[in-house]
Symmetry: C2
Subunit: 157 residues, 2 copies
DNA sequence: CGCTTGATTTGACTCGGTCAAGACAAGCGG
DNA sequence: CCGCTTGTCTTGACCGAGTCAAATCAAGCG
């Protein structure tokens, strides 16, 4: 990938610094990484970067819209540079793996709730929970039990 | 409301204790309360209950399916006793208020992702983000700014 | 080159929640 | 009704993820 991030940063009104380039490259290589992973990866390009610097960079990137923060229940926050399009996420209950999924429907009925209780809705966030291919293959006998864990609210699909 | 919780607990294989009844009553009165609120409310019925006891009770209730845990991004977890039906949530970006919203669609297209990347999906979790009636009325001038905050990923509705 | 201002470093700190050991009581058999 | 067993509650220490603040540093301007 190796996009030239510098102009993107400048367009957004941010200065171009080594920590920011290192984090952006790390994000491009690891589409759904948590802060801790990004520290490790970013250190390949910038060995002295501190965890707090990464938090600061990520906060700045999210604030200007260059990155997006995703917070699956029960896991540390993940970050991604794929922004501007409308996509959702598949999350594996077992290993936490995340995959992107496009919303192929223009006007999804379920996403325009009939009774909004006076709310003005500006975004619908969808998370699909399940088991990834690897975890299904690795622990077929546990599948039923794992699925039972969050099945209580009623499955949708 | 004052449902008789005792048989529900016993059916689920749990003992009937004062802390559990207090927390269940608190949950019935406060449909989307966080753990801290539940401690406060439960203490009206059981003044000596400890926060950790509430956490323990909630964990037990969620494990047997008598309660559901909801974790909106950037806020402490909420609990509700409305289980078994399939409903989603409206969350106010400004004050964190939560409202239930039924999914009135039987088979929602967006909830059956075309490409599941090898995942077996068992649940689709939907969170609608926006502003509640009160916050819209209270801070009309801030509305645009607040909405800008998470608008970056592309609004759905 | 040097200034200004935003960015980074360092370290302490907060919050939400978990873990573990012992005291306690629900619900069983007698 | 009594006492036992086992699950539950209490108490207190602990943890991870993330934030805050002061001081240092450097990007980008003139």
């Amino acid at each position: 990938m190796e996009t030239t991030w510098a102009p993107r940063l400048r367009e957004a009104g941010l200065r171009v610094t080594r920590p920011r380039l290192a984090v952006l490259d790390a994000l491009a290589d690891h589409p759904h990484a948590d802060a801790d992973t990004l520290v490790t990866v970013a250190r390949l390009a910038h060995p002295t970067i501190s965890p707090q610097a990464v938090y600061g960079v990520l906060k700045a990137l999210v604030a200007v819209g260059l990155a997006r923060r995703v917070e699956p229940a029960g896991a540390p926050a993940l970050y991604e540079v794929r922004v501007g399009d409308n996509h959702h996420h598949l999350v594996c209950r077992s290993c936490g793996a995340v995959a992107d999924v496009d919303c192929t429907v223009g006007a999804a009925p379920c996403l325009s709730p009939s009774d909004t209780a006076g709310f003005v809705v500006d975004e619908a966030e969808v998370v699909f929970w399940g088991l990834c291919r690897e975890c299904r293959a690795r622990t077929p006998e546990d599948t039923a039990q794992v699925l039972q864990h969050r099945n209580r609210g009623g499955a949708h699909a």
